[in-house]
């Protein structure tokens, strides 16, 4: 990127390919560029130079509107800070991507409510359907986020420090769910984490340092 002080390289000389159905862990210290790389791979941002292909789509050539469409069709997210909408219930939060897709004529299901309830059941939150995020624990909120990520049946799941905000017990349960559902759905998983144990469960891993690929 270019700043008032001149050119600033956040990421450079990175070339990776992730096969469909595989899982990849991205690790590195704070400021190494993990989240930036995740944002580029998921089409949340466009690179100033270089190419990014997602499910065969050239994200680097698409505008924001088109990248949003790609995300709606192929991508699911799980974040460290859960990113649930506080005013919506657990069920409504999970329904959100299904409704957005339905509104764009991309709906995969005729009944988003039922599909959302099914996924909440898979993460063990059926008794909490009508609860709002503030009424749920951190672990429960992350399980809602996982249900939301899988409810739209994405081909690729991006997870940014999914256990970073959780205690050991909750983190274990969330990680278990994440890998279990991913295996069940056959999605590609790209995971950013500091947790070596979590990274070790992935098919392969890369480490970043100073915006460059280390291993």
């Amino acid at each position: 990127m270019h700043t008032a002080e001149g050119r600033l390289d956040i990421l450079s000389q990175i070339s990776i390919t992730v096969e469909a159905g595989a899982s990849l862990a991205i690790t590195g210290v704070s400021g190494s560029g993990k989240s930036t790389l995740l944002g580029l791979l998921a089409g949340l941002d466009a690179p100033t130079e270089g190419e990014v292909f997602l499910a065969g789509r050239p994200l680097h050539q698409l505008d924001e509107e088109a990248r949003a469409l790609v995300r709606a069709r192929y991508v699911g997210f799980v974040f460290q800070t859960f990113q649930l909408l506080p005013g919506l219930s657990a069920l409504e939060n999970v329904m959100l991507p299904l409704e957005l897709a339905a509104a764009d004529g991309e709906g995969l299901t005729a009944d988003p409510r039922k599909q959302a309830a099914d996924y909440l059941d898979k993460v063990g939150l059926t008794p909490r359907l009508s609860h709002h995020p503030r009424q749920l624990s951190g672990g429960e909120q992350q399980r809602v986020a996982i249900a939301r990520a899988f409810a739209s049946r994405p081909q690729i799941l991006f997870a940014d420090e999914p256990t970073g905000n959780l205690d050991r017990a909750s983190a274990g349960r969330v990680a278990e769910l994440l890998f279990q559902l991913n295996a069940g759905e056959g999605a590609t998983l790209i995971l950013v984490t500091h947790d070596a144990a979590l990274a070790a469960r992935c098919d392969r891993g890369i480490a970043l340092a100073g915006g460059r690929l280390q291993s």
């Binding site: 989240s35 995740l38 944002g39 998921a42 949340l44 941002d45 924001e64 509107e65 088109a66 949003a68 469409l69 995300r71 709606a72 069709r73 991508v75 997210f77 974040f79 800070t81 990113q83 649930l84 909408l85 005013g87 919506l88 409504e92 959100l96 991507p97 409704e99 957005l100 897709a101 509104a103 764009d104 503030r134 951190g138 939301r148 739209s152 940014d160």
Partner: protein, 815 residues
């Protein structure tokens, strides 16, 4: 419920949209209400002036005009009538009294109404009839002077008339000396019988017409070239009265207040929209992450806002209608309001204002919202897209000018308000930024925390000081103008206003009458000599070829003064006042302006055949709204003393002492007394109501100002929420934090109020002098009221909002 409805419902329940909604209601209500109200005021104003004429247009003439003139008026579709007025002695029971007789034709009056009663000196009831042939209706004073009652006979000239009613009110009461004589009303067909219609009689014909403006214009165009000496056309619109002036000022005030309310509402919309946007960046980022594109986000929010704007418009229409009804109801007893033709215009104007307000003030921040980067889900501090700090204030200023122009219909007011406002805003914002940069040695914990907080977010706090300052300034500004108006009305009609005129006082009665009035202990104006004369010529000083209005053809009451300074309230504006031996004339400056009369010119007068020439020696500002004798031309004593003249004076007689007039009138039978108490009471009531209307508008604008403050406080609390939670987590007590927040808000309010006082004083001076034609008055209380008001209101609102923030667990904010 679909996603749009769910998100919108959630925003509604959180209260985030309330200020935005109320601001648009205020904008719609103000413009709708004022559009309807001003139309009704204009109609009332016209009707007030029409009542003074008894018609929409009046042709005055000393002789009967050709009958074709009135036939032509009727041919143009105008209603016509006529009156003939003359002075005559009335006889009854061996008593006699000088009266001004009005002989009225069919259809009189065309505007306004006559009022009669069966008992003298009582309130009358409106009637649409006229005295029957052979009958007369008399002023109450004539009953006393002639010692007659209903059913008695009085003689007017050669004819006898039966008294059938007491005449208590009439439109077109005449002017000058004639206004002062007690009235007798008869039929015009009876005038011939009185024997007064002889050559040489002093008759005053009034030909009245009413109807369509275009027909009146054509009649006037036809008549004007044919008018001869002593003939004059009066029309609604060039009539001035205290009531008319007051209503016109109320109208101007309503427009100004409306503009300020719309500006404040716009400011509140801008602040609330910014607050809303700031609170929704994360939501938009999440929605984008989940696949929503810009178009989808736009539809999602626009649909909700469309419902909000529509609801605000409908509510605003209702509120606007209610407000104008309340203002009109204040005057309903005293002024006849005509409802404007039912039309959609005020409602369209109200709705358009809300829409304009929304798109000008709310859309730019909302536009930024739809461009929020999805990367915020990874990094919360990721900046919102498309920031151009100069663009929104610029757009806001242009939009505000457009909005004020739209609501006030006056480009000059709009540009000057926004120009001055922009300048003042710059000063306020800059001043706040500089002031917040000062470092104070503060030992007290609360003060230290407060100052640190103010300094840490100096730019944001400057913006808040600017918003608070602007709101307080606009409310203070309106209070200043309101005070100027009300003070002017009070000065115009103080409780001891002169309520009686004595006219037609012969020179040999002057001393005796003066002694008699002084003996009664009455506050009176000085005895002013009066001679009647026509302006016959105007010699301009050499080198001037400017073409001014033709000379007026009517006769003037001329006076002279041997005092060392201009008499009464008159104020010398040019030239010098008379010295012994001068033979010049002093002229009313307004008349001089209208007729291109300048110092050094010579004016020629015709006083019943005698020619008098006088050089213009000075110009005076005459207060025509004061109830006391006033004159367009005041001569040096030597110029006029030899002319035939009488004297006049005015005095205040408390209502309870009204009986003392009867012996005075008997002892000076040729002196005429005009009682204006009833007129004064009516004017006083109208001015009181005008003050109330103005205060009602002030309250509305204050409410709009409060909306801005609430919006600003809510916005500023969002920024303080996290910091407060952090301090609580670190062990700060609730009391310490509340104290620190109180100090912080008090300092912010004090700063905003102080700078608002400067702005209000400056803008108030411009508005008083330029827009309302008032004399400049300084308001020292502003310098105390501004800072105190700012401090009190901002602290109270801030603390009310802080309590809610402090009640939330720090865990919920920090985790």
């Amino acid at each position: 419920m679909n996603l749009t409805a769910r998100l919108f419902w959630r925003d509604l329940r959180s209260g985030r949209l309330l200020v935005l909604f109320l601001s648009m209601v205020v904008a719609t209500a103000t413009v709708t209400g004022i559009s309807i109200g001003v139309a009704r005021f204009a109609a009332a104003l016209t009707s007030e002036s029409s009542v003074l004429l008894g018609a929409d247009m009046r042709l005055r003439s000393a002789a009967a005009v050709p009958e074709e003139w009135m036939t032509a008026a009727a041919g143009l579709g105008l209603a016509t009538s006529r009156t003939l007025r003359f002075s005559s002695m009335l006889f009854a029971n061996d008593n006699l009294a000088l009266s001004s007789v009005k002989a009225a034709g069919d259809g009189y009056p065309l505007r306004g109404a006559l009022a009669t009663s069966d008992t003298p000196f009582t309130e009358g009831a409106v009637t649409d009839s006229l005295p029957a042939p052979g009958e007369t209706w008399l002023d109450s004073r004539l009953f006393a002077l002639l010692g007659v009652g209903i059913g008695d006979t009085v003689e007017i000239g050669d004819a006898a008339f039966t008294v059938t009613k007491v005449l208590t009110a009439e439109p077109d009461p005449g002017g000058g000396m004639e206004l002062l004589s007690p009235r007798a009303l008869i039929r015009i067909a009876d005038a011939e019988r009185t024997g007064v219609l002889k050559p040489g009689s002093r008759l005053r014909w009034s030909y009245l017409v009413a109807g369509d403006a275009e027909a009146r214009r054509r009649w006037r165009a036809m008549l004007t070239p044919q008018l001869g000496a002593g003939q004059r056309l009066d029309e609604v619109g060039n009539m001035q009265s205290t009531v008319g002036e007051a209503l016109a000022r109320v109208e101007r005030f309503l427009l100004l207040a409306g503009s300020l309310a719309v500006l404040l509402a716009g400011l509140a919309i801008a602040v609330a929209a910014r607050h809303y946007t700031a609170a929704h960046y994360d939501q938009v980022a999440i929605l984008k992450t989940l696949g929503a594109g810009i178009r989808r986000i736009r539809i999602l929010y626009l649909a909700g806002f469309a419902v909000l704007v529509a609801a605000a418009i409908v509510t605003g229409w209702g509120a606007g209608w209610g407000v104008q009804e309340a203002v009109v109801a204040l005057f309903a007893d005293n002024i006849r309001f005509t409802l404007p033709a039912p039309g959609a215009r005020p409602f369209i104007a109200g709705a358009a204002t809300a829409l304009l307000g929304f798109f000008i003030f709310a859309w730019p921040p909302l536009w930024r919202l739809e461009r929020a980067s999805p990367l915020r889900v990874l990094r919360r501090d990721f900046p919102p897209a498309g920031r151009r700090p100069w663009l929104e204030p610029l757009l806001g200023a242009v939009g505000a000018a457009a909005l004020v122009w739209w609501s006030a219909g006056d480009a000059v007011i709009a540009l000057s308000l926004v120009g001055i406002g922009g300048g003042v805003a710059g000063v306020i914002g800059g001043g706040a930024f500089v002031a917040l940069g000062f470092r104070f040695a503060a030992g007290n914990g609360r003060l230290r925390l407060a100052l640190a907080s103010l300094r840490r977010d100096r730019l944001l706090n400057s913006v808040h000081a600017l918003v608070f300052g602007a709101a307080i300034m606009l409310v203070l500004l309106l209070a200043v103008v309101r005070n100027g108006l009300v003070a002017q009305w009070q000065t115009q009609l103080p409780p001891d206003s002169h309520n009686h005129f004595l006219v037609n006082i012969s020179p040999d009665e002057r001393d005796a009458l003066t002694a008699r009035l002084d003996g009664l202990g009455l506050a009176r104006s000085e005895m002013r000599p009066v001679a009647r004369g026509r302006l016959a010529g105007h010699d301009k000083t050499a080198g001037r070829r400017t073409q001014a209005e033709p000379l007026p053809r009517w006769s003037f009451m001329l006076s002279w003064s041997d005092a060392a300074a201009p008499p009464g309230d008159d104020e010398l504006t040019a030239g010098r006042w008379f010295a012994p031996g001068d033979v010049g004339v002093s002229v009313d400056e307004e008349f001089a302006d209208d007729h291109d009369v300048r110092i050094g010119d010579t004016l020629h007068f015709d006083l019943a055949g005698a020619a008098v020439a006088a050089a213009v020696q000075s110009l005076r500002k005459v207060n025509w709204q004061r109830i006391a004798p006033g004159f367009t031309f005041v001569f040096a004593p030597d110029a006029l003393r030899a002319a035939p003249h009488v004297f006049m004076t005015s005095f205040h007689l408390p209502t309870a002492r009204g009986g003392e007039l009867v012996p005075l009138m008997r002892d000076f039978p040729t002196v005429s007394v005009l009682e204006v108490e009833r007129l004064l009471s009516r004017v006083r009531v109208i001015l009181d109501r005008a003050s109330l209307a103005v205060e009602l508008m002030l309250a509305l604008v204050a409410a709009a100002g409060a909306l801005v403050l609430v919006a600003g406080i809510r916005y500023s609390m969002a920024a303080r929420r996290r910091q407060t939670a952090l301090l609580r987590a670190l062990g700060a007590s609730r009391r310490l934090l509340l104290g620190a927040l109180a100090v912080e808000f008090a300092l912010l309010g004090l700063l905003a109020g102080a700078i608002a006082a400067i702005g209000a004083e400056a803008a108030g001076a411009v508005l008083q002098v330029r827009v309302f034609d008032l004399d400049y008055r300084a308001y020292p209380w502003l310098w105390l009221a501004g800072p105190l008001l700012g401090m009190a209101v901002v602290t109270l609102l801030g603390l009310a909002a802080s309590r809610r923030v402090l009640a939330v667990s720090p865990l919920r904010v920090l985790l």
